[in-house]
């Protein structure tokens, strides 16, 4: 969670700065996690020194608070509307030399960095707080804490308290940096509803070797857990006028699925991309359930259907599909539009011919590295064609390859069609990332899920209609209780399952609930309200990507209002941090980056590109010179 270093080239300065305490404190109440990272640093030198406070936090988290205490004075970050914050920032920094505080740093994490000058012998305490709703994926929640102190810390401590009123089914904690010697230091206590994990190595235990000053603590501390799902209609929790409903039914028969894989095999996929796509597809094909139907459409300048229609996943067909996948090679241009329309048409035809299993669900998975360069190349037109073609019938999942991808293009297309977009990071495990995504959607249990609440009892509901529910995931709905709290428990779930329509009604008795929150030391009381705000903002931000201009404006205004009210650093707000320094760059901004903005560094062997439209805007930095036709030599 923390790296503190100095910018000076003076080697002595490294030893002058001492981190004497580093504490990571996480409280999770019903999946809503609040993490507080506190670092206390002293400057042992007789001159002032600059110290950095670097924290990696999950991309899905919103920063809610940051403070520095220097010489008894507290400096607190203030969340403001992005435009207003930028204005203040620009006034303070006329030359704009200081970059934002939050930077993309990887697949799951983003980096928060701040530096400050500390006078001789003075101390500073940094404290950063962020909140996130843990997402259930393949039957478990994951709380990730990245720890990276660059020196031995006198008091190093990670403390995690988890409170799950539904009951904790299992809880596991491990660290990527935790050696066999350190494993025993991870303390774990689990009761029926509470879990506690702590990790607090001594100075000697942190050393990478007996007399070393370097720390072995460098990596991810990961906590995985799941809760009990005893009530089929899910669990409702009400606190302080807000409710949250967690719905993740188990013991349901899986729905057969009909999936069309649309695979980009254009020239830009040449090399490792096509190789890893083939690897992933071979693994995915091996996992396709015999009840499923599937087909493959590959595309470059033209569109090639492996089979004229969607077919059963028999062993013979899977074998033939593997051979087809093995035969793919990169060539030609990228005709995304025709390929997707062909996939839609294939599913439409199958529906028309009634060749698909009853109560099955259909979906399209697109894998591409991006830019449409053949056929229809206008991205807005492609999005419109696909949306009109699908007409809400099938979700579209878009997997995009690489950092140079036009993520917003595929994201909009996926969100407009009830799917999600995911960036596949170019790395040695790209095939596993693709496979992992498929695993998430491999086992649909329900379709057309609608959660109904008493009309007069609740308001300001988050999304409550869902196209699919996949095994191991979770549906969360939150809202405000307007009537009698007990009314809010009277909810129903209507969905389509493998064996026909499903109707569930909440069976939980209200007196059970009274016991649930009687132990406030484990929970932060306003968590339901903050969770509701977090979820509402996330959904409004998604709608901004896919909505009409008017909807976008309304959703933006509402998301901004909530971000400011609940002090969340979202893509619409910034946190203004003022340092106690009489310099031009004493004001800085902490922003929230979106996936589309968070281009990472190029991987080894991959040149850094700027792609997207227009097609040839590929630039290296160079001084502008007027265009002159010439011939010369080097």
């Amino acid at each position: 969670a923390r790296l503190i270093k100095k910018r000076s080239s003076d080697p002595q300065a490294v030893f002058d700065i001492e981190i004497y305490s580093l504490k990571v404190d996480c409280k999770v109440t019903s999946r809503f996690a609040r993490s507080v990272i506190t670092s206390r640093v002293v400057n042992r030198a007789n001159v002032s020194r600059e110290v950095f406070f670097d924290v990696d936090l999950p991309k899905t988290a919103f920063i809610t608070n940051f403070s520095m205490v220097i010489d008894g004075l507290t400096y607190v970050g203030v969340v403001k509307e992005k435009a207003a914050a930028k204005k203040q920032y620009q006034q303070a920094v006329s030359q704009g030399q200081t970059a934002g505080l939050v930077k993309a740093s990887g697949r799951k994490m983003e980096k928060f960095t701040v530096s400050v000058n500390i006078a001789a012998t003075k101390k500073v305490t940094f404290e950063l707080t962020y909140e996130e709703l843990l997402k259930r994926n393949q039957g478990q929640y994951e709380l990730l804490i990245r720890v990276k102190p660059k020196q031995i810390v006198q008091h190093f401590e990670i403390n995690v308290d988890i409170y799950e009123p539904q009951g904790i089914r299992f809880l596991d904690a491990h660290g990527t940096f935790v050696t066999n010697d350190l494993t025993q230091l991870i303390e774990k206590t689990v009761t029926e509803t509470k879990g506690h994990v702590s990790f607090s190595p001594t100075v000697d235990q942190q050393r990478s070797c007996p007399l070393c000053q370097t720390s072995t603590i460098d990596g991810d501390f990961v906590i995985n857990y799941d809760v009990n799902w005893d009530t089929p209609a899910g669990d409702i929790q009400i606190l302080n006028g807000y409710f949250v409903h967690y719905f993740a039914p188990t013991n349901l028969k899986r729905l057969p699925k009909n999936v069309v894989f649309v695979i980009d095999q254009s020239t830009s996929m040449m090399g490792t991309r096509i190789k890893q796509t083939k690897e992933a597809m071979l693994a995915i094909l091996a996992d396709i359930h015999p009840d499923d139907h599937f087909s493959i459409i590959s595309f470059d300048s033209t569109v090639t259907k492996w089979k004229p229609s969607i077919i059963e996943a028999t062993a013979e067909n899977i074998e033939a599909a593997k051979q087809y996948v093995n035969s793919l090679y990169a060539r030609g241009w990228t005709n995304i539009n025709d390929a997707l329309l062909e996939a839609i048409s294939m599913l439409d035809e199958a529906m028309k011919q009634h060749t698909l299993t009853e109560h099955s669900i259909s979906l399209i998975i697109l894998l591409s590295d991006g830019d449409p360069t053949k056929g229809e190349t206008n991205r807005a037109q492609i999005q419109s064609n696909v949306k009109n073609g699908i007409g809400g019938k099938y979700p579209l999942y878009c997997l995009g390859f690489g950092y140079d991808l036009d993520y917003s293009f595929i994201e909009k297309m996926a969100l407009e069609n009830h799917g999600v977009a995911r960036r596949i990071y170019e790395d040695s495990d790209s095939a596993l990332q693709m496979q992992g995504f498929y695993d998430e959607v491999a086992s649909p249990l329900l379709s057309q899920i609608e959660l109904k609440y008493p009309e007069n009892g609740v308001a300001d509901l988050t999304e409550r209609s869902f196209q699919q529910y996949y095994n191991g995931s979770e549906i969360v709905v939150a809202g405000r209780v307007t009537g009698n709290e007990l009314d809010a428990y009277n909810m129903e779930v209507i969905a389509k399952g493998a064996e026909g329509d499903l109707f569930l009604k909440n069976q939980r008795k209200e007196q059970d609930q009274e016991k649930t929150f009687e132990d406030p030391q484990y929970i932060f009381g306003e968590y339901t309200e903050r969770l509701w705000a977090y979820l509402t903002i996330q959904q409004l931000l998604s709608k901004r990507v896919s909505g009409t201009p008017e909807e976008k404006a309304n959703n933006t205004a509402r998301a901004l209002e909530l971000s400011l009210k609940y002090n969340f650093v979202t893509p619409l707000t910034s946190m203004v941090v003022t340092k106690p320094e009489d310099t031009l760059d004493s004001t800085m901004l902490a922003d929230k980056l979106t996936e589309a903005e968070s281009r990472g560094p190029p991987q080894d062997g991959q040149a850094h590109r700027v792609s997207s439209s227009p097609q040839s805007n590929y630039h290296y930095a160079s001084r502008y010179i007027p265009p002159v036709t010439s011939v010369d030599g080097d």
């Binding site: 254009s266 020239t267 830009s268 996929m269 040449m270 090399g271 490792t272 991309r273 990169a330 030609g332 241009w333 990228t334 830019d371 360069t373 140079d404 080894d604 062997g605 991959q606 040149a607 590109r609 792609s611 227009p614 097609q615 040839s616 805007n617 590929y618 630039h619 290296y620 160079s622 001084r623 010179i625 007027p626 265009p627 002159v628 036709t629 010439s630 011939v631 010369d632 030599g633 080097d634």
Partner: protein
Amino acid sequence: PHFIIPVPKQNDTICFNVDERPGVIFNLVRDPLTGITVNGQTIGDKKIDPNKKLNTYFGRFGIVNEKLGLKLEVTTRSIEITSGKEKMAFTWSDTVSMKQRSFALQINKERNLVVMMGDSVQFVIVLHRVWKDHPFHQDYLGFYTIDSHRLSSKTHGLLGQFYHDLSFEVGEIHQGTDPEKPDAMMMIKGQELTVTRGWQRDYREDIKHGVQVPCWFVHHNGTGLIDGVHSDYIVSGIF
């Protein structure tokens, strides 16, 4: 020599090399309407480094304006101007500025030569001086065209064919053999070419280091980009 073809409409640049044996003369520009022709003769290195490929450069240019009765021959040693029956000769050590009714010339000592033809095009010839005791390399010249659009649309030649409308599409950027220089596909003149992102240098402002111009590099002597093949542009004399 490396050719740099800017495409301002697309805010991008194409480049290619032409490798031919030393001594060959190429027609670079020929405009039948204005009567302007530019030819260039290649030179090689003093001797060939056995570990490297043969590099060629331009060592001599001939510029003709038939309508003005003007001929200009520029080498790495001298600059000769023939206007009708008049003949003048300068060296690169001279600083010269001359202006006639339809013609202006300026020699910037040891640096470059600027030729202007009436209201028409402007040519700049850059002198690259190499240390005289260099074991391999020798002095050479670069040729730059400014306001090339002022020549007629009939202009052709290895360079002149690019003075007017040119459009292309680039896509499918992917990893090439050099990780720093990705490959891509270029659609130009109805053909698909594999091109490589790289850069070439423009030496007009900084004669020593040049300014890097990012460009899409067309392989094989510009095959597919130029009309015909590069050898079609070989001519027998400098004028």
